[in-house]
């Protein structure tokens, strides 16, 4: 039986769940409720972040062993909450601009958030699956939220079809695991050392991991990413590429580390290299900034998998650090793209998302260009921005696990990344503007601006003081 006090232990999750449901009621009971809902979601997320910090250093398994609270899962959930916070702030202006200012949008975000947190805290494969579905269904809807845009519809449909396809494999994997162990409880599964070497069990776990590799966007399961990120509303793309990935990484990482299939390190390494190679190389040829960021997010998945392939105590630190850095820089870049996008005029495609549009941005809009430069520098891994330390800790983990070749390859491949990030910077500052300088009116009342400022602060803060992160999230020095 579930203890009542268990409810207190998952307060952040409850806050989000309650708010998501409550927003539905708000939506139908107040007229012009969008602003109220916006404020309410912000408060809910902030409250969830604030309460999360109570549970650090209290490892526990609760709710009939369905949930497990640990420092790692809390860290990932806080990073997701931060990502969601920035997304929500940026969304307000964006959905107004796109004429889809509905309260359900925020409800969807919060339901997705709830799914992600459920997944991360899960100690039972079924709970993972429920969380995953809750998240995915919301994502499908969000990707197609611009109902009148063909691209958005296409994106949602593609995402849904491929996602559903992969869900099948995940379920198959779960079934195999259950068939061998007779339980879905992760603690019980991993407590039996004999099971861990069973063929069927390994295949089941592999299918489970592959399902999550799809969500993270690791080669060869990355194909959906460019199409979906390109078509989805830009702020949502930012959210998908940060929160969505973090949730998947945060869920599967403990499983990979617990199964500890050291023999298969090489598979992860190869997947990591292939992903980095694919993402970075194809990004070179992109002319659309949303697609470029999508490929850069594939490359980032590759960096994350460098950490996964390390499978040592440094991996978790490195991945967590990279993810928070990635949240700020990637989301920030997407939000800037969203801000610069042209207002909805009934067209089928997004306007002002070509790289050419960014030529001369530094003259037209120096503040935004400066911020974009920060994010791109960070993505390229140039100190003193957070992205540098993210990569540093990841590659460090690889070196510590005696995979020096992997670290070297990763560094070389990230050099390709530097090229296309710098290309945008050069466009912004050193190219002649193709647009008339005065045409663009940018207002600081755009909530996207506030979100970008938050992201910039994060990018710089964690870049200047890398230890802040570890002390904030109570990491123990290994």
């Amino acid at each position: 039986m579930i203890q009542i006090k268990d409810l207190l232990e998952v307060l952040p999750l409850l806050i989000i769940a309650f708010s998501a449901i409550f927003i539905l009621l708000l939506e139908v009971s107040i007229k012009k409720s969008e602003t109220v809902i916006f404020g309410f979601s912000l408060i809910a997320i902030l409250a969830a972040i604030a309460t999360s910090f109570n549970y650090f250093n209290k490892e526990m398994i609760i709710f009939n062993q369905f949930l497990r609270i640990s420092n790692a899962s809390l860290t990932f959930s806080v990073i997701i909450l931060i990502s969601m916070l920035i997304t929500v702030i940026a969304s307000k202006s964006y959905i107004e601009k796109e004429n889809v200012n509905f309260g359900e949008y925020y409800s969807m975000l919060l339901f997705a958030l709830m799914g992600m947190m459920l997944m991360i805290f899960a100690n039972d494969i079924l709970i993972i699956f429920i969380g995953l579905e809750l998240m995915s269904v919301c994502f499908y809807v969000l990707a197609g939220f611009l109902r009148l845009r063909q691209k958005s519809n296409e994106s949602a449909l593609k995402y849904f079809l491929l996602g559903a396809f992969m869900t099948g494999f995940i379920l198959y994997g779960i079934a195999l695991i259950y068939g061998i162990t007779g339980t879905t409880n992760l603690t019980l599964i991993f407590s039996d050392a004999k099971v861990l070497t069973n063929y069927v069990f390994i295949i089941g776990t592999a299918l489970l991991i592959i399902g999550f590799m799809f969500k993270i966007g690791v080669f060869p399961f990355h194909m959906w990413i460019p199409d979906v990120y390109d078509g989805a509303p830009t702020v949502v793309s930012g959210m998908l590429s940060t929160a969505g990935k973090i949730a998947a990484v945060g869920t599967i990482l403990p499983i990979i580390l617990a199964v500890n299939i050291l023999n298969f390190k090489i598979i992860f390494s190869v997947a990591a290299v292939a992903t980095m190679l694919y993402g970075n190389v194809i990004a070179l040829a992109q002319t659309n900034i949303k697609r470029l960021l999508a490929y850069s997010s594939i490359a980032s998945a590759g960096y994350i998998f460098v950490g996964v392939a390390s499978m040592n105590e440094f991996a978790l630190r490195g991945i967590a650090y990279y993810l928070i850095a990635y949240t700020f820089m990637q989301l920030g870049a997407f939000i800037i793209v969203a801000m610069l996008e042209k207002k909805d005029d009934g067209s089928r495609d997004y306007k002002n998302v070509d790289l050419d549009f960014y030529k001369g941005l530094g003259k037209r809009n120096p503040v935004i260009a400066t911020f974009m430069t920060f994010f791109l520098f960070s993505l390229a891994g140039i100190p003193p921005f957070a992205g540098f330390w993210g990569k540093y800790y990841l590659f460090f983990a690889a070196i510590k696990s005696n995979q020096i070749w992997l670290a070297v390859v990763a560094i070389l491949l990230s050099l390709i990344g530097v090229y296309y990030y710098l290309k945008i910077i050069v466009y912004m500052w050193f190219s002649e503007s193709l647009e008339p300088v005065s045409e663009e009116k940018f207002s600081f009342s755009d909530t996207g601006f506030a979100a970008t400022v938050l992201a910039v602060i994060g990018t710089i803060l964690f870049g200047v003081d890398p230890n802040l992160f570890f002390s904030l999230f109570k990491f123990v020095t290994p």
Partner: protein, 122 residues
């Protein structure tokens, strides 16, 4: 272990056979005298126009989906209701609260559906 599945398999076979045999039996046993009128689509005497693969209004789907949704939720309530009586006091209270939470969530969804006018036909 597999023996316990035998009854299920038997039921499966019987149900499939029942359906297949019955459908085919009627066409086998019944007289078959087709003519042009009989073969045409039955449209209450009106001449059939256009294709049968019409696009339906989304409202149909809406109602269907909502029906399935709430229907399935109600299915959950049956086993609960059946086992509810047999529980001791504490567990009774506990299970009552659990189901209340479940119903409330369902209720919120229902209110949302109604207020959004998803069931209005116009």
């Amino acid at each position: 272990m597999l023996e316990s599945y035998i009854p299920i398999i038997i039921i499966l076979i019987i149900s499939v056979l029942f359906a297949v045999v019955n459908v085919n039996l009627s066409s086998l046993l019944g007289p078959s005298r087709p003519n042009k009128e009989k073969l045409s689509t039955y449209e209450s005497g009106i001449e059939p126009v256009g294709t049968a693969h019409e696009r339906f209004s989304v409202k149909f789907y809406m109602v269907a989906v909502l029906f399935i949704l709430f229907d399935i939720e109600v299915v959950f309530l049956y086993p609960w209701a059946v086992s509810f009586i047999g529980l001791d006091q504490l567990k009774m209270m506990y299970s009552f609260i659990s189901v209340s939470v479940f119903i409330i969530i369902l209720l919120v969804g229902y209110i949302y559906v109604i207020r959004k006018g998803a069931l209005n036909w116009d």
